[in-house]
Symmetry: C2
Subunit: 363 residues, 2 copies
């Protein structure tokens, strides 16, 4: 059932079949350098929900990452199968089938998980899993997580009662802050989050509970979390690839400007009218949840509309039939999840093919 | 790399791990019956871009379909590998790598393809492929296809000059008409398309070129195409499953009302506040390009927002932690493309698991 790669090593980019997910290795490596040079005095645990690929993860670890994080037990399974030894599931794991898999996996790797409910915590404890357990607190995104303060303390106390569970600390991630466009708005949001983190950590301390770690932060804000001093570990994912939506943010100090390293290679498959070019990458090839893809280094062209397998390209000079274009995905994470392979390219030549082994790992 | 199924045969639906793509077999079979009972006096060639699964295709053929259609060479490869002997690619196939695969596949099955450019036609002819070649005409959606009339005649004449190519007829599909909300608007659009089809067919006839077939039409309009008398073959795909976007159409005679047969099973994974339930199916589990998913048979609840791996459910009575809900995808085609397996359920019990072997078949 796995799809064979659309390229072979040694091909020129222009020979690659389309649509294909292209990773520019030089740009990826510059993004790695930019992250690890700026993220000082914190642990870096990149988010594999973005890349879903042990090969990418191993390069992040080689650059200094302490391990990976991910959102799903099945993603953690794929990462551990691919040789990643330390994985934090930055999410709640609910239901007997998932908890059983979590317990099994916890015997093969250092594994962490988040909780926001005492019943769920007891179910995890009863499974025999050996885990770092983090209390997720809601620091502004109104998704999962208990309120900061007393509810977090109550859960931390409960964790301490279970012999095989270690209290890992607090998961404190403000996802919506990542996409606030101005640095000032993002800073204001993160400073509010930091106040909630500090208050909770102080409360834990007064109750005699050591909080080993506060983990969270994403590519759009991580330097702001670091500057507050309230986080010990950051979880950026998109920094490695960037996308058209993140590019709409203001990128200013203290954050570095990451580069687009991820592209969808597409072919002009129809030129039915002088003002209309149709490409072979539609919404099954580049996720449109955060807007249409951009077109790389063709400033006169715009990708204006997507249907399932087609995209409309308008503007001038209009590309010819058979011409290949690189698209910048609107949103990198769900776009990666549409592919089985990264076609890794350096200076126009295919250098490697990396399997996206956690593609479709939903459960 | 293929993902193992989230269920086993014999399980109760409530035991299935989540998120999972669930096919209600009774509803699917009723949709099959409704289609084949209404589509009289035309050939039915269902579109496999929706289901991407030879098991579904074989059931469509058993119900009376003449074969499948699809959009990509790699989809056609998966269908032929799965035992489908007659496949029409309702799309242009451009570029040497794809045309070479098309030629290879044409030796293993009855294969059709569309063209809208003479240079592309000559490249296909030069490949040695043995194919039915259809001229795609633009009947209103302004995507691919030559203009009706003379440009179509010129291409048909060119096809006749190539020994291994048969002129299959006209591909005439108005995708945008499918989602016009009122039946009257859809009828007006299809009557305009029919006029373009008739004019082109008449022109071919006057030039002494037999047009074996006019193929096109989708789930939202196919009875309207049939009533014009201008089409010989229809290509509905979504009828088998339905989705929340199609459900927003007016469904009135002559079209039957198809049922929702496709669902995403999801678990409430967090209940952090009395008014907030978070489910484990986000936009990687149910495509949001045509809006948020609906919630099946829970009229007080709404799925209001999606992030990559989470969904927000609001309303009353609010579901409890661990409760499972069925979502009705906003758009069935790209949602199916996120999964490797249909969990086929009848009256609450898993009856079969069908592999979605053309999932991710983009090229």
């Amino acid at each position: 059932m796995s799809v064979r790669p659309p390229a072979t090593v040694g091909q020129q980019l222009d020979e690659v079949d389309t649509p294909a997910l292209v990773l520019d290795l030089d740009a990826f490596e510059r993004n790695q350098k930019a992250l690890f040079e700026t993220a000082k005095n914190v642990r870096v645990r990149p988010h594999a929900k973005t890349h879903k690929c042990p090969e990418v993860g191993k390069r992040q670890i080689a650059a200094g990452a302490v391990g990976m994080c991910c959102q799903k037990v099945s993603e953690a399974e794929a990462l551990v199968d691919g040789g990643i030894a330390d994985v934090l599931i930055t999410n709640e794991v609910v239901g007997p089938a998932k908890i059983a898999r979590l317990a099994t996996l916890s015997k093969r790797a250092r594994l962490g998980v988040c909780v926001d409910d005492p019943g769920n915590l007891r179910a995890i404890a009863a499974s025999g899993a050996r885990l770092d357990v983090y209390v997720e607190i809601d620091v502004g995104m109104r998704r999962c997580g208990v309120a900061p303060g007393e509810p977090a303390l109550a859960l931390a106390k409960e964790i301490a009662q279970h012999r095989k569970l270690r209290f890992g600390g607090l998961q404190a991630y403000h996802g919506m802050a990542q996409h606030l466009r101005s640095t000032a708005e993002r800073r204001a949001a993160i400073e509010k989050s930091a106040a909630a983190v500090r208050a909770t950590r102080d409360l834990l301390g007064r109750a005699g509970i050591d909080c080993p770690r506060v983990t969270g932060a994403g590519s759009g804000t991580y330097m702001l979390e670091i500057q507050t001093g309230a986080w010990d570990e950051i979880q950026p994912g998109s920094y490695a690839f960037m996308d058209a939506d993140y590019a709409r943010n203001e990128w200013a100090a203290p954050l570095p400007r990451f580069e687009h390293a991820l592209f969808v290679l597409t072919t002009v498959m129809s030129r039915p009218a002088p003002d209309r070019a149709i490409v072979d990458a539609g919404l099954k090839a580049s996720s449109v949840d955060s807007g249409m893809p951009g077109i790389w280094q063709r400033p006169g062209l715009a990708y204006t509309r997507a249907s399932d397998e087609h995209g409309w390209v308008e503007g001038a000079p209009s590309p010819h039939l058979g011409e290949k274009l690189l698209l910048v995905p609107g949103h990198c994470d769900p776009t990666v999840n549409l592919y089985d392979w990264y076609v890794c390219v350096r200076r126009g030549r295919v250098e490697a093919l990396w399997a996206i082994t956690a593609r479709g790992a939903l459960y």
